[in-house]
């Protein structure tokens, strides 16, 4: 038993070292500097609560917090819904070969810089851009899409949709086909089969996909800044603003810690929901 424990521990060791070196230690350091003082543009170790009271006591922090939370939640919901039909098709309606190629092409966008893709969207969404030019041909528009919440959402889709489709596809592919066939044999309509059989069975993967989407969009800087026009600023933009003026890294650390706490709570709640046993 002891040998087997040591064996298991040895295999876990790289992950533990990685977590300690790249997550726990930086997190502790960040928590520490949130109490430090900035003097003449230089951080000095201290223990002051002013950074916390200053940030949490300001209306603009909470405005940024709620808009970030709202946008990330909306993105997780909308992108999961948009991804589902594509994932369903890939899982059940195409051959193994097509599915493999489709997954490959879903990964391809990650080969290019997300920032470059966001800049490309500027050209497409601008008032004299591609979309409005096409709509103009049928007498519609021009519509303002860039520097709006819609623009930011397009950026979030660019960032997370391929990932969510891949996660959902793997999850749906793992659903026991016998259950689906049994539902059909018992007279279930296709929609009811999806809602009552497939979605509950693939619940873990679907929730994990949504959680990844939430995490990535909650901390994203590129889309709200370059496609949303910083209007209104999200927490990631607030971090940039805070460090830019006066080099207030301790106050930026406060914002970052609140973001991490929010993501922890969301991830724990989502994972608990994903693995909760079905009651009926």
């Amino acid at each position: 038993m002891a040998t087997s424990s040591r064996y298991a521990f040895t295999w876990r060791l790289p992950m533990l070292i990685w977590q300690a070196a790249f997550f726990v230690v930086p997190l502790v350091f960040m928590a520490a500097i949130s109490f430090w003082l900035v003097k003449n543009y230089r951080m000095e170790p201290d223990f002051i609560l002013k950074n916390w009271s200053k940030m949490l006591g300001r209306g603009f922090f909470w405005d940024a917090y709620w808009i970030t939370l709202w946008r990330a939640s909306l993105a997780a919901l909308v992108i999961s819904l948009i991804a589902f039909p594509a994932s369903y098709s890939l899982a059940y309606k195409v051959s193994e070969s097509v599915r493999r190629w489709a997954v490959f092409f879903l990964i391809v966008p990650f080969f290019t810089s997300y920032l470059v893709r966001a800049y490309a969207w500027q050209v497409i969404l601008a008032e004299n851009g591609v979309v409005n030019a096409v709509l103009g041909q049928v007498g519609l528009g021009p519509f303002t899409m860039l520097n709006t919440g819609f623009g930011a959402m397009i950026g979030y889709l660019t960032l997370t949709l391929p990932l969510v489709i891949v996660l959902q596809t793997f999850s749906l592919s793992g659903v026991d086909r016998n259950q689906i066939e049994a539902a059909w044999n018992l007279g279930c309509s296709p929609l009811r089969t999806i809602v009552q059989v497939i979605v509950p069975s693939a619940r873990v993967g679907l929730i994990i996909g949504a959680v990844f989407c939430f995490i990535l969009t909650f901390g994203d800087f590129v889309s709200p800044f370059y496609l949303g026009g910083s209007k209104p600023p999200t927490l990631s933009i607030l971090i940039i603003d805070t460090t830019k003026s006066g080099q207030q890294w301790p106050r930026a650390a406060v914002v970052a810690l609140i973001m991490i706490a929010t993501l922890f709570c969301t991830a724990f709640a989502a994972v608990s929901a994903a693995y909760r046993k079905r009651t009926r």
Binding site: Y41, A126, E127, S230, S245
Partner: protein, 378 residues
């Protein structure tokens, strides 16, 4: 070559040929050994100042190589200085309003005024505020620019742009952009409120309240807050029709690309940004740094500075004006570097319409920055 002639190649000829070939082949190595490696000069500056269009001639003439560290904003510059040991940066380009802080922190060394051509400076710039403490010189101005109303000429006329009130025009709803830095934007709002004496940055509590109120009233017009790249693209794509807090340093570059944009100094006045060189404390390359500053103030250096690819600037020297008028008359005309021209910056300065960008004098930078964050969230 015939068999007979090949046989006639003597041993001596062969040795001579081989020796000569050896010398020729080894020449690059010998040259490399004889020539000293270029001296590296560490420069801390805004983007563009150590690019080839500015420094290549000086580098070639003096066998030096600039190693730039680019920053974005005076706070960022001060932080980099604070976090670096003395001697890290040989030469520092800073916005003029931050020179006093560089000096107070002991990051720069005193300069000898006799080394620089102050007689060639326009009188307005000979004793630039903050660069001198009494007769002690700490920094030398090399270029400047003006911030006013920048706009799309297809949407707004020059006459309409002659007041900051144009930002509230109904045609610009959702089309006014902000360069995302509080100092130039709030400085312009302060000017609009009539705070031009002594300075839009030297205002009491009541005036500061009024500036905040005025700025907040602009919010419904605002289409976005942009960094350097975002400001360029939003004006170029026509997404924004007017931008607050910038000037020719952005629209001048876009004009060269044919974009229908321009900048004017409105009746309420404009803000001047100023860039100055200082020599870092602890550097062992003070002499070559001094020589570079002298080069940048020479007519040749000023012509390069005026036409800098990253963002154009104006010349503080009379010989710089003469040089650009000769080297590129169109650019001289475009940027107003012709005495008596409608956009002659010295004339505007003498009319009292130009105010130096500064840090807030009666509030803290934190107060202004906090309000800017509130405004962006409003």
């Amino acid at each position: 070559m015939s068999h007979q002639s090949a046989k006639n190649v003597s041993r001596r000829t062969l040795l001579k040929t081989a020796g000569a070939s050896g010398v020729v082949l080894a020449a690059p190595m010998l040259n490399r050994a004889w020539a000293a490696d270029p001296v590296e000069i560490n420069m801390l500056a805004w983007y563009g100042h150590a690019e080839p269009d500015i420094v290549e001639e000086f580098e070639a003439q003096n066998n030096v190589k600039f190693v730039p560290k680019y920053y974005a904003g005076g706070d960022n510059m001060l932080a980099l200085m604070a976090q670096s040991p003395p001697g890290t940066y040989d030469i520092i380009l800073s916005d003029a309003e931050f020179v006093q802080q560089l000096n107070a922190a002991g990051y720069i060394q005193e300069l000898d005024p006799a080394d620089y051509p102050f007689d060639d400076f326009f009188p307005e710039f000979q004793k630039f505020p903050g660069h001198w403490i009494g007769d002690q010189l700490w920094s030398v101005m090399v270029r400047y620019g003006l911030l006013g109303v920048s706009f799309n000429t297809d949407v707004i006329t020059h006459d309409e742009a002659m007041s900051y009130n144009v930002f509230w025009d109904s045609r610009l709803t959702g089309k006014v952009g902000h360069f995302d830095w509080h100092l130039p934007n709030l400085g312009q709002m302060s000017l609009l409120n009539g705070n031009d004496n002594p300075s839009p940055f030297d205002i009491d509590g009541a005036a500061w309240e009024a500036v905040q109120e005025k700025t907040l009233s602009l919010k419904p017009q605002v289409g976005g807050y942009f960094d350097y790249g975002g400001t360029f693209s939003s004006l170029k794509t026509g997404e924004m029709h007017a931008v607050c807090g910038i000037g020719d340093w952005i629209t001048g570059v876009l004009q060269k690309d044919g974009a229908p944009v321009d900048s004017v100094i409105p009746e309420e006045g404009g803000i001047q940004w100023t860039e100055s060189y200082s020599v870092g404390i602890g550097t062992e390359k003070g002499e070559i740094a001094k020589k570079f500053i002298q080069y940048m103030l020479s007519p040749a250096g000023q012509v390069r500075s005026i036409q800098m690819a990253a963002y154009p600037g104006l010349s503080p020297t009379k010989s710089g004006w003469a040089a650009i008028q000769e080297a590129n008359p169109d650019e001289a005309k475009r940027s107003g570097l012709i005495e008596g021209a409608a956009n002659d910056p010295i004339r505007l300065k003498r009319e009292g319409r130009i105010h130096y960008r500064d840090i807030p004098r009666q509030q803290s930078l934190e107060d202004w920055n906090d309000f800017w964050s509130e405004y962006k969230n409003a």
